[in-house]
């Protein structure tokens, strides 16, 4: 096998990917006018965070804290993964509620353009 594939992918690449995905999410949220697209951008940001969670969890799986430099597997090492599940659950709940709101808004206003949904403005 070529050296390129025999080497494990460096962790920084995962983080870089996570940062790119998060930035895409932010930009999408800021520039898109369609409510559903914005919603998808939020999901993108959440999953970017999830990716960085699992990356760090992998990096520190043998060590609980940076300063300890320990090598034995620690029971705390799965914290990152557990957090990911939390985020997924919240995202699922959010999707359910958020989509329901979007449907309600569409029924009421017949539009999904956020610029026109500004009833709370003074």
């Amino acid at each position: 096998m070529s050296p390129l594939f025999s080497q494990p992918v460096p962790l920084s690449w995962y983080l870089l990917l996570s940062a790119i995905l998060f930035s895409l999410g932010i930009i999408g949220f800021l520039i898109k006018r369609n409510l559903i697209t914005m919603f998808m951008s939020i999901e993108l940001m959440l999953n970017a965070v999830n990716l960085s969670f699992v990356t760090f969890a992998h990096q520190w799986q043998y060590c609980d804290a940076v300063v300890q430099g320990c090598l034995a597997a620690q029971p705390h090492a799965v914290k990152g993964q557990i957090f990911v599940f939390f985020v997924m659950m919240v995202a699922a709940a959010e999707a359910a509620v958020g989509l329901a709101i979007i449907i309600a808004v569409f029924r009421a206003r017949a539009t999904l353009a956020v610029d026109r949904i500004d009833l709370m403005k003074l």
């Binding site: 949220f29 800021l30 956020v114 610029d115 500004d118 009833l119 709370m120 403005k121 003074l122």
Partner: protein
Amino acid sequence: MNGSLHLWLIPLLPFAGFLINGLLGKHLPKWLVTAVALLASLGAFAVVLYAGLPLFLPFSSAYLGHAAPTSFIETFGPWLNIGTLHVDFSFVLDQLSLVMLLIITGVGFLIHLYSVGYMYEEDGYWRYFSYLNLFLFFMTVLVLAGNVLLMFVGWEGVGLASYLLIGYYFTKQSAVDAGKKAFVVNRIGDFGFLIGIFLLLANFGTLTFSEIVAKLAANPGWMGGVLTATALCLVLGATGKSAQLPLYIWLPDAMEGPTPVSALIHAATMVTAGVYMIARIHVLFDHAPFALSVVAVIGAATAFFAATIALVQNDIKRVLAYSTISQLGYMFLGCGVAAYSASIFHLVTHAFFKALLFLSAGAVIHSIGGEQDMRKMGGLRKKLPVTFLCMTAGVIAIAGIPPFAGFFSKDAILYAAFTQGTTGKALWFVGLLTALLTAFYMFRLWYLTFLGEPRSETAHHHHATPWSMLVPLVILALLSICGGWISGTWAGVGKFGSFLAPALGATTTEAGDSSLELTLSIVAVIVALIGWYIAHLFYKQRPQQPAELAAALPGGYKFLSNKWYGDEFYGATVVKPLLAISTYLLGWFVDKAILGGAAWLLGGIATFSGALLQRWQSGNLRSYAAWLAAGAGALLLFVVVPWTSVLANFGIHLTMAGH
């Protein structure tokens, strides 16, 4: 003398009566309210007799096998303990407070009894009696107090009770105003009293009477100076409470209250508190001769001044009110010439005959349906025979005709004044002149009310006086006749003075010249009889005479009937400037400009910044998100960038606090 006398019961019984009637009276039947109020005052009187008589009566010292103590102090516990200041809840029973207590609870009980008949038809019967008991509570605290501060508590308390009772008919605007006036004017006096207390504290380090007396006794050479200032402040307090010049103006208006209240509070007891206070702390005044002469001059001036006003008043209660001010002036005169026991003697007899006069006037007013104008009375002698006889006793007593009570006490004061040098003789002459006026206006009242023919419809219709009103009248009439005999002599304070001597010091009158004393007495009696004769001439023989005299001297008559323009004077010099300052300086400048401006500024800043910041809340979702993202980015920059080294590149060195 060991053991308790249960002095605390004396104020506590009326206080219990106040609580029961005040809290529950509305729901209690009238007979129960009456019983509670009467038993509370009668119980207090009984405790005074129980506590006081065995201790101080001459026969009892032999009976008990020991000499009568000079004073009995009962301490119930500490009140204030601040640094070197110690104030206890302590009561003092000595000859002086015993005499006062006998008057307050004894006459107080009689007036309670009288009120049962007088107030029976009134709304708020229970309220009236709860206030009356509250008054007894505070008055006994005032008299029993063993230190100045506790006395001040009673002093303020009787002022409160007085205010409540003057304004008893609270639906009547004039009564409400009179209550306020009494309260505010007394406030001025209380201010003086309070400053006096502070001065006492600063110079003696204690507020207990016995310790102040002891410190003064230890420094016999300490005269004048700060003691005069202290005494003058206390005199200001006394003039407020005892309605002397210059703070007399509240008492005539206080007649808006029910008549028994005028008898109890504004004639017999509360208004004598100023005299009592001076007598109680007389040792201080003995070390401040200037303050003492001020007291004498105030007393003589007030006595004369009030008597002239009483000459032309037509409201029966107002005549008595000015007469009270005048008689209180006599007591001040007595204090001022250091004849404290003569002053207390007059206080006692005055309590008898003035309470009697007020209650008789109340009986007259009650029986003819609330009419107080003497010009509309007349000929009531046959319709109210008992009241007529009692009133006659009171009138003769106050006019100073022997052997009625007022003669003895007024004479003792006049004699004491006469022996005080040239100034004393001038004061004596003013007192004598006042005695003439007193005899005149009292017999004027007597003739106008009871003799002659009825001068209006109301004087024809009358209804019977209940026995509960007549019994106190008769008892007080007997006391007005016999009350002066306690001195046991025709002139001077006699045995009464030697009884009070342990508390008030030996009187100068005892060692006096008895022939001079007798001469002065005869002069006083002749003067009183002249007063009577003039009244007889004016109101019996030639009823048109007063009107002719008034027409002949229109200026003088107007001056007197307008009460020397006292109210107008205070209105122009005190009330109006005060109102102007309140309206313009305090109201417009301080309140509206400064405080209002500050409030407006604060509100304006909030409104203005709100108007600016609300632009931020665009309602545009994406702008919110952008601000959120920008904020997160700024935080990120703040955390990630090594600011210390970046700034160091620009020559700026941040130092951490504490390093």
